[in-house]
């Protein structure tokens, strides 16, 4: 019967399908691929979300000081367009000098943010520019984790790649500079750095012009993003030199380096801030020298294959004499005429760490430029601190083009990270990569005891395998816990908003900074000029929108010294300085009431030092008593009468914060102030924020007769 047969056929088909669904198994390769995609997707989300603590706790706001300048520049770019941005002369900073912004910044960050903003707006998703700026760094951190996966895959294998990706996603050394709100160059520079290195390794491995060109374009992005591009342009020639010396010269290396150098140098000169430095400054001479040496080496190798040995000996001597003579004279002439400029102070301080303290106090005063402590290494890298040496061992065991590069990268980064705390940022990604290699190699070899394949004879008992795998897993779990804790507690503070816990467990928010800047924006004339220490310049420009005298760019040491001299002199002596600089308002940060330790009184000695570097009459010893820095009644007269002291403690003696302490007790210095009943002659108090963090004073204009009254 036909109907019956059809029903049977259908039932049989259904049975087959249900069997297929129940017995569904991916092939091993597809299984692995799917798992990899899933893991990478989770890592992408993890990297982004673990940086959102400050947005959840406070709000979506730009942090710190430098990001405010980047934010203001991005706003200018978005509203005024590309050409106006590149030609921007900012007359509201460094009064009366102004600043040529277009030619003195690395525009990559602003371009990236503006591009994202315009792209989203083109899709009719009107995301505010502030939110784009706040969330750009976490998004780039996710991308960096992906690049780290591919990089480690090139160097070792994909299993190490996955570990490297998850390490990079949460390592504190990197999250410290890329949390949401930290809109700074490093956020995109680390992505560009790893991308350039990935493309470089691919270029050396394949010797193809396509990868070399891509590497040069990634290098161009890096140059536009951060001054640390000098690291790339010195590490790659160092790598080529090591390859030549160890006898690993190959034509692939030649093609890769020649193309990357020529294209890279031309591309890097497109950024106005870099200008002609790639052919003039000492920091780039290593790359040029290596280029010459590589050409010479390649010519010699080629000619040797075409000549008999004794002919070749004669040719070699002739060529070397000619080359040495020619380049020697060129180099000596260039050095003597000063065409090749010596190493700039910032980078010279990396080679000679004691240089900055004695010669350039501004560089020495930045807390990020101090040498790194052991505690910082562990805090910022946790298990990577001891996985790095293990990874070095594994790389030495398997020496090829890619692992030699990673070795050199690690060793140079470790040196620089030891010189300056800020450069742990450069060490963190490669520590993740090489630590992942160590962990992955260990896990791979011991998993073989746990689950031996047919080829292995399981000589070792399973317990050893389980033990080691368990120990490594425990370490990785601790790493995850530590990194999340560090990001949440130490690196998610917006600095512009402070929070503290009261004794009853309530949280109080100190929003004084923004209140102070907003007061300036609403209550002062448009062209008012504000004098403050250079730390707050960018924030005042961005939030208060008023003209400032000095800001964080610190390009003019003498101008800063003027401001320092004004703060270090008495009110009477500071007044002519303030008049000559056309100052209308003075802004001072005071932490004595709240216990905020980064206030201007704590920075005061640096003001004296910088002022003293330009005016020898100001001596640091005058402001200390017996070598000690004090603010109580035993403080020196110069200290008690200085403008900074006056403005910080004006009317502070009328406050009694706690029952047990006297009136005028400074919580930060833990002392009662030495000069009470301060009265102002040439200034008047304009604004003090609710917790006395921001104090703004108005400079009185000279009267007509017999002034001051």
């Amino acid at each position: 019967m036909k109907g019956g047969k059809q029903v049977d056929a259908v039932r049989k088909q259904l049975q087959e399908w249900s069997q297929a669904i129940v017995n569904f198994r991916f092939s091993a390769a597809k299984h692995a691929f799917l798992l990899k995609i899933l893991i990478l997707g989770l890592i992408y989300i993890l990297a982004f979300s673990s940086r959102l603590f400050s947005v959840l706790r406070f709000e979506s706001v730009i942090h710190e000081f430098d990001p405010y300048f980047n934010y203001r520049s991005t706003k200018y770019l978005v509203s005024n367009g590309l050409y106006n941005f590149l030609n921007w002369f900012d007359d509201t900073t460094w009064y009366p000098l102004g600043r040529i912004v277009g030619g003195t910044i690395y525009p990559g960050l602003m371009f990236t943010a503006a591009l994202v903003h315009n792209f989203l707006h083109a899709l009719h998703l009107p995301v505010d520019i502030r939110n784009v700026c706040v969330l750009l760094a976490p998004w780039f951190a996710s991308n960096t984790a992906m690049v780290a996966y591919f990089l480690t895959k090139e160097v070792w294998d994909d299993k190490a790649g996955l570990l490297a990706a998850v390490f990079v996603a949460i390592v504190p050394g990197y999250t410290s500079r890329s949390v949401a709100g930290s809109f700074d160059n490093e956020g995109i520079a680390i992505f560009a750095l790893l991308l350039t290195y990935l493309l470089w390794i691919k270029a050396v491995k394949t010797g193809s012009l396509w990868w070399s060109c891509a590497c040069a374009l990634a290098y161009f992005y890096m140059v536009s993003a951060w001054g640390g591009y000098v690291f790339i342009i010195n590490l790659i020639p160092l790598y080529v030199l090591v390859m030549l010396i160890s006898g690993r010269f190959s034509l692939r290396l030649y093609v890769a380096y020649s193309t990357v150098y020529v294209l890279g140098t031309l591309l890097s000169m497109q950024i106005s801030f870099v200008g002609f430095q790639p052919v003039q400054s000492s920091e780039h001479m290593a790359a040029m020298g290596m280029f010459g040496i590589l050409q010479l080496y390649a010519v010699i190798t080629w000619v040797r294959s075409k000549m008999s040995p004794d002919h070749f000996r004669i040719f070699l001597r002739g060529l070397l004499t000619l080359a040495a003579g020619l380049f020697g004279t060129l180099f000596v002439v260039a050095w003597i005429t000063g065409y090749i400029s010596p190493w700039t102070g910032r980078f010279y301080a990396l080679l000679d760490p004691t240089y900055a303290k004695s010669h350039i106090p501004i560089i020495a005063s930045v807390s990020e430029h101090q040498p790194t402590t052991w505690a910082s290494f562990f805090f910022d890298m946790h298990i990577l601190a001891f996985l790095v040496p293990a990874g070095l061992y594994f790389c030495f065991k398997r020496l090829n083009d890619a692992t030699i590069f990673i070795l050199l990268y690690t060793l140079t980064s470790v040196y620089f990270a030891g010189v300056m705390v800020r450069l742990i940022l450069v060490l963190a990604p490669v520590a993740c990569i090489i630590g992942a290699i160590a962990a992955s190699a260990t896990l791979t070899s011991y998993m073989r005891y746990v689950k031996p394949s047919n080829r292995d004879s399981s000589v070792f008992p399973k317990e050893i395998g389980w033990g080691v795998v368990g120990a490594v897993t425990l370490l990785l779990i601790f790493y995850g816990l530590h990194c999340t804790w560090v990001t949440a507690e130490a690196y998610s503070s917006p600095s512009i908003v402070l929070a503290a816990q009261q004794q009853n467990g309530n949280r109080i928010i100190f929003d004084d900074f923004r209140e102070g800047y907003r007061w300036l924006a609403h209550n002062t004339p448009q062209h008012a000029r504000v004098m403050s220490w250079w730390d707050y310049g960018y924030q005042i420009s961005a939030m208060a929108n008023r003209t400032v005298l000095v800001d964080n760019n610190t390009w003019n040491n003498t101008h800063i010294a003027q401001v320092g001299k004004a703060f270090a002199s008495s009110e009477e002596n500071a007044y002519p300085i303030m008049l000559s600089l056309d100052v209308d308002y003075v802004l001072v940060i005071f932490g004595g009431l709240t216990g905020y330790a980064s206030d201007d009184i704590n920075k005061f000695l640096w003001m004296v030092r910088i002022a003293g570097s330009c005016d020898p009459k100001i001596k640091e010893a005058d402001y200390e008593t017996l070598g000690e820095y004090r603010i109580d009644d035993k403080a020196s007269p110069a200290m008690l009468n200085s403008l900074m002291y006056t403005l910080s403690y004006y009317k502070f003696d009328q406050l009694q914060i706690e029952e047990a302490k006297p009136a005028g007790f400074d919580r930060v210095r833990n002392a009662e102030i030495g000069r009470k009943g301060i009265s102002l002659t040439y200034l008047e108090e304009a604004f003090t924020s609710p917790h006395w963090l921001v104090r703004i004073y108005r400079v009185l204009k000279p009267g007509n007769r017999a002034w001051p009254y």
Partner: protein, 114 residues
């Protein structure tokens, strides 16, 4: 044994080298080599002008010199990729890469010329 090199020695070595070279190279590689010599010659002329006459628009000099050096290096790399077996690249792919690199190079040369 180190003895002074006479110029006649050098001439002998170079002429032997040239005859080996001419015997071994095929027609298409000879064309590439001629182009290389041309690019090198142009670079020398540009540098000589800069050194002897004026460096004045310095960015223009740099872009012209970079163009000569860049084209030289890229063509040399193309030649290596076509001739040597170290690279696992088909000639068509090598040529397309070469064109792409030249495009990027000349785009920025024109931008930098000013």
């Amino acid at each position: 044994m180190i003895r002074r090199i006479k110029s006649s020695d050098m001439v002998r070595v170079l002429s032997a080298f040239l005859s080996t070279y001419r015997a071994e190279t095929t027609k298409d590689l000879l064309i590439i080599d001629a182009f290389l010599v041309f690019a090198a010659f142009t670079g020398v002329v540009v540098a000589a002008y800069c050194a002897l006459v004026t460096t004045f628009p310095y960015n223009s000099f740099l872009s012209a010199f970079a163009s000569c050096v860049g084209v030289f290096i890229l063509t040399l790399c193309l030649r290596l990729q076509l001739k040597t077996e170290v690279f696992k690249i088909t000639p068509e792919r090598a040529f397309v890469d070469y064109l792409l690199c030249n495009l990027v190079l000349h785009l920025f040369v024109i931008n930098f010329m000013g």
